[in-house]
Amino acid sequence: MTATTSAATKSFFGKRFLTDLLENKKLLIINSLLELLGLPVVSILAIVAMYIDKLTENDPDFYIDLYVIIIPFIFIAVGTIIISILLGFVIALFHFNYLYRKSIVDMHYSLPLSNTQRYFADYLSGLSIYLVPVFIAVILSAVILAIGSVFVDMSEFWEVAPYIFKAGLVVIVGMIMLYTISVFSIMFCGSTFEAIFSIIAVNTLIPATITCVWFAISTTSSYGMVGESIFYSPVFTATSPFGAMVFFFMYLFDGIDRSMDGINNYYDSMLIRWMIVAVIMTALYLAVSFLLYKRRKAESVSKPYVYKAFFYAIGTASVYCIISLLISSGINIISSAIAGVIICGIGWFIMEIIARRGFRRFWTAPIGFAAVVCSVFLVCGICKVTDGFGAPRHVPAAISVESVSINVDDTSIFPYSVAEINFRDRDVIKAVTSLNKDAVDRHFHFDDYTYNEIGTINRDKDRYDHQHIEITYQTIYGSTVKREYSVMSFMLSDVVQTVLCSDEYAKYAADGIAVDAANASSSGKYYSSYSSVKKGKVGGKITISNKLGQSESSVSLGSESLAKLHDAYMKDIQNMTPEQLRDGNIYCMFGQYWVLDSFENTLEVLAERDLSVDMIERSDISSGGYSSNNKDIWTTSEIEIINSPRFYSRPKDFFGKDSKSSYSRYYYDSGYYGSGDDLDKYSELDGITSAFSDNSNSGYYYGDDMESEVIVNDALLMLLNNATPIIINEKPVAIIHCKNATLYVRDTAENKALLKKHYYGD
């Protein structure tokens, strides 16, 4: 008997679920129609676009302005998708309408249901009405695309499909979150206006408050903090539907690209972490809603706010956002604060009048507002006094970092694209966290460090080559921590060595060589990743040059040879020791990728093809002429020799108390280059670290100042052959800009002798 009763009472959940669905069938129909006009239409348009694309490809005379045909339909489809997503909060309002409509509360509460059954049945039936049409639309779209692929070559689309599917998952989770947050917001309210207002307020204020708090931290002279990093953090992206939307677009426009390019893609792990955090947050909103639902009383209906604390929470968040935005706008802080208080005050009292339905006990409203304003200023003050709540001092422990990426503005350290690698190598992570700690320590304990003080005529003390770096950590806790600093380039030595000797860089560089080669072949097809090159079994064209990017020779390789070269180069980098990197000579370059003398496997593949690189010769330095003073002396304007680097900076500018971590200014010392008289002055600059020669940009920087008459003699040619783009924490005896390459002359007796010989002759 008891079992029967229990089963009967349990079945009420299902009954409530079904009656709810039936009661709201109009919403289901509307949502279904919107969904059917969304994704399936987009799928049809995609097939049409691909079909026309193929026609155009096969017949150059065939022309249809695709966008004119498709764009109106795209607008309709996207519009309906947006409306159907926004239906989330309408559905929530309909399913829990008895919480804010007095006339129907008795009907719902008197039914033989427990609060738990009623809540979950209502929640799930609403969710079904919201999501079932989406799933139907997805299945229908998949069917349309499958049918379409029978008639149209859609191989390119199917390559992207898994990533689109993942992006779709983000949308689904975001939709569930929107619906759940809407339900959560309704729990606080007992009237229609407040229910609608709360949904809008909560959805807006969660991301807005997080952003404003973060910006307050990162702009309160907080060393190394990066404002925009909040947009990569699950704290922002996984806590609200707006954040989910930001993440979706990030994934769509950046993540998919990275995945397709085969670059070590941190979006995949970011996506998993995002999913976990977003699902936890949604579950949290659901659980809190349930607790509030159980706690609220039926008689609360018609009260504007069932939980008054919620009203004050919304108000405080709004006041905080407005005041912090005005203060951080850069206008005078006092006038910004006063303007903020006035604006907030007007809004506050309007909301109080609405919430109180008049002026009942209105004397408490100014007190509440004053308390809120004081608390906001208190938070701002604490943020200022504690230097962003101590956040700038926080450096993630290496053990808590899952992966790290590092970007150095100056491409003489790394090529730009190294920033896209998300290193999981523990040594790289340790080197980067150690660099980070060093930078933080130098800032917060500036006086504990001493820097070389070499006072010379008309010069500042403490001259250093410095670099602006950006570090992005993905932690094992799912957070993304972004920092930026200016550091002296010698501080990067360990990072450069560990990065360039890591397996991940080895793969990145080997892939890069193979992809460049495949794209340089005459097939005309573009390959974005090594996996697509390998999958397509395509060969490529390898171009080999000397370290000046000169004396190019190229050879076509079949797919097997290209794969062999790829594997050989990868193996060589993997086998490379930091010493080999530091002291090795450049044998040749594959585009931007250097090959050291120690790269046995690569050199073996080249030898099999009879490929070799000659020494730098006079003919490599073209466009020369005879000296204007002495017609027997051959000179060139393509070379610049700097004995004392002209660009430098002072540690106090980026490590000092009021320094900016993003400092990137260089002092320019116009009088120190290109003359034998300056041979001794290079020592004023501390160690330089550089591992790449940026062939595309160095000419741009130095071109204007190039000397017109550098003598081209045997000593210069020998110096060029000895010079290297790789210098790690060394003081070069000279820097040579030749063509578009930057090469460093190591401080050896031979090089010094050659320099003298170059300037003064034998």
Binding site: A8, S110, L113, S114, E299
Partner: protein, 309 residues
Amino acid sequence: MIELKNTVKKFDSYTALNGVDLKIEKGTAFGLLGSNGAGKSTILRLLSGIYKQESGEVLIDGQPVYDNIAAKQKVFFINDETVQFGSFTLKGLKNYYKTYYPNFSEELFESLRKRINLPLNKKINTFSKGMKRQAIVIIALACRTDYLLLDEAFDGLDPTMRIIVKKMLVDAMLDRQLTTIISSHNLKEINEVCDTAALLHNGKIVFSREIDSLKGEVHKIQAVFPQNADGSPADFTQEDFASTGLKILHFERSQSIYYIIAKGDEDTVRAAFAPKEPLLLEMIPLTLEEIFIYELEVLGYDSNDISGN
């Protein structure tokens, strides 16, 4: 059986029920009487599991009601609103409630519907107020619950329909021992339908008794007493009668005629008056409405006082 034990219900700082004790036996037709804001609807909402009491107990057949599906399944509550059903058709509303009440009888529903001739497939918001009320009453009866709670049940019904609906209720009470609790300001109807009634005032029970015994306990007395020796009319005060142990609800004198409302059975009243040798002693039974008025008058709920006269 329905029991309220020392039940307290508050709405913020306002105490709607202040330690109410009430017992309603199964099969009773129970009338809830009371001034406006006395707590009648609050009791009904507590019994239907809508409200949760702050303290005390609200039990149906020994089980607490709030959040208890088994107890709530035994109760059907009809409140004084009808707008909530507007979006349904009668058929839709029937199907809606049928889902939750397993004892729902289609046959009973059909027979009741035919008696009052309500359309099945028209939206209820096109119905008149009386028709809406009829619609929910026949659904409630078809749900065949043990307890039926009606708040202002006959509001909006025309006299003919009132009779029909009352008959429906009485039939259900006779057929299956339905316990009906009716809250109404219309005391005549309570008088007609209910066998027991409770009077509520300021969140407290003033009395709870069978209506017949209640009527036998309160009397309107007209009495004339012999003149004094000096020829002046007899001069008795309320206290003179109260001192005999009678509870005087109302006392009025016009010339030599005394109009008194007093509590107590007939013999007690007569015994109390006997020492004063009345020339005339007439005892008239009170209507429920009069009992309501005089009981509340004692508690300070006097129309003259309230209107300021």
